[in-house]
Symmetry: C2
Subunit: 299 residues, 2 copies
């Protein structure tokens, strides 16, 4: 089925049939550290109409607590419970799969993953602390790695280096049963408001390349987080609308979970990419940015 | 057809039917900086029997001149003309495809690639010079890249970092017609004699992950180099034997080119990996190390 542009008419239907709006953050709420135009008023309007708001982000650089602070600093009141980040998802994946707490977790990625691991009772190693580590290629060196690492979590890592790639690769190749978990596989992302930069998909692919293994993906489009979300908000998926800027993560996630889907063009996807014959992911609706909702309700 | 262990009988046949032996280097001739046992005498014996020797390596860290020096330092006389490295292959690919010399080539990899590019008349940028460059994620920064870069060459890079991944990604995504060339896609390699470390396949996969594009591979198992080799040595492929330690590069390369193939277990492949039901690449022959040839000819 092809997508429809959001209109006063179909938005009215959507608005009345949906109890919860799920929002991606980067490219929907903000770009880098800049709020996208009209976001604050739009979220206010939805809340004042009794809609539940949930923020589902693949960005693993922050923990839920750090995201709540970011929302606050941008003048948007959001509670930690309304935030589902892929850093939290990685920790929850280990939790529900009874990962032994005495085993360590090697992290290629940011502080947010380490923080969520700690909150869930796990010991994360690596992460930003390995940013400046190097490997000496000049000698016939043996690289020691911790045999008690039972999982490697890979997310976006601005400090990626050979040491981290080597460490993660050795754990996955040599520690029996070691899990390979990807927060997400976004190829690029809006780390700034001006450009698309390599995303977690870049680091995850590197580890796939060296280990010849495929990861367990816990962020979008995987619906792993949906069970937590359903338990917390008590709304059926058919009464949710997933709003995002990415076809292969946000919209696919919404579709995989049985939600309504709304694509916005304020992030990485353009209208011509949506309409390109090579694209086979069609959201229910599309519009330029979420604040279009305001104009449509006032119309 | 399943592989045969090399024996006095079948080696005699192979020896008489073959005019040139093509050797992989890492895991066949040396491991890291250590010569594998018996290599020197084996190569001497082959040369004294009039066999042509060719060294075909996916390792792009050195140029052919640098490889000739390495052979020399290990006490093995090898001329630069007998060496075909993937660094040379990358430069030759640009040459035969009439890459405009006024365009630049961005290099994720070692000095060897830059040196071969220069010898072929091209301007390489990046490489080891970008080892310590960083990107500021804190501000809404615009990352400038050179619009005259017409090709990105990716090989093994011990100094891989986000800056390089970002630079290469922007060139491939934003410079019209920019080529994405991989020296090779080896997942791991014997950078030391003690362990397998992530290979060029790791860095190449990272760029595939961020660009969602597949590279042109110029090293093994691609037979791109075969035309150069045939021209230089004037031996038909059926009279060549490719000797290597990797199924998915060396043996596949030999088979793709129509050579005889000999797998040795002195590098990354074990006999159990060869015999594993999941493996579908079968060399003609296998043996533990190349010096077994000496014992077999003396037998």
């Amino acid at each position: 089925m092809s997508s429809q542009p959001l209109s006063a008419h179909n938005f009215k239907q959507l608005f009345h049939s949906v109890e919860a709006f799920l929002f991606d953050c980067d490219g929907v709420i903000w770009k880098g550290d800049e709020l996208i135009e009209g976001v604050s008023q739009t979220l206010q309007m939805l809340r004042s109409n009794g809609k539940k708001l949930v923020f589902v982000t693949n960005n693993s650089s922050k923990s839920r607590a750090q995201y709540a602070l970011k929302f606050q600093s941008l003048g948007i009141p959001v509670s930690q419970d309304e935030i589902f980040s892929s850093s939290f998802a990685a920790a929850m994946y280990l939790k529900v799969n009874n990962f032994p707490p005495q085993n360590k977790v090697y992290v290629i990625g940011g502080e947010g993953i380490l923080e969520e691991l700690q909150l869930a009772g796990f010991t994360g190693v690596g992460g930003p602390g390995d940013a400046n580590k190097t490997i000496d290629f000049k000698q016939n060196k043996f690289f020691e790695h911790d045999k008690s690492v039972g999982a490697v979590v890979v997310g976006l890592d601005p400090n990626i280096n050979y040491y981290k790639l080597q460490y993660g690769t050795l754990c996955i190749r040599e520690n029996p049963g070691c899990l390979f978990i990807a927060t997400n596989r976004d190829s690029v992302g809006n780390m700034t408001s001006l450009q698309e930069w390599p995303g977690a998909g870049c680091m995850v692919a590197a580890i796939c390349g060296s280990t010849q293994k495929e990861p367990i993906v816990v962020g979008k489009p995987s619906t792993f987080m949906m069970d937590f979300l359903l338990k917390k908000f008590n709304v059926s998926c058919s009464k949710m609308c997933m709003v995002g800027d990415r076809l292969d993560t946000d919209i696919l996630f919404g579709q995989n979970a049985g939600c309504k889907t709304l694509l916005v063009f304020s992030g990485v996807t353009t209208q011509s990419a949506l309409e390109d014959p090579s694209n086979n992911i069609q959201p229910d609706y599309y519009t330029s940015k979420i604040s279009d909702i305001l104009d449509l309700t006032e119309a």
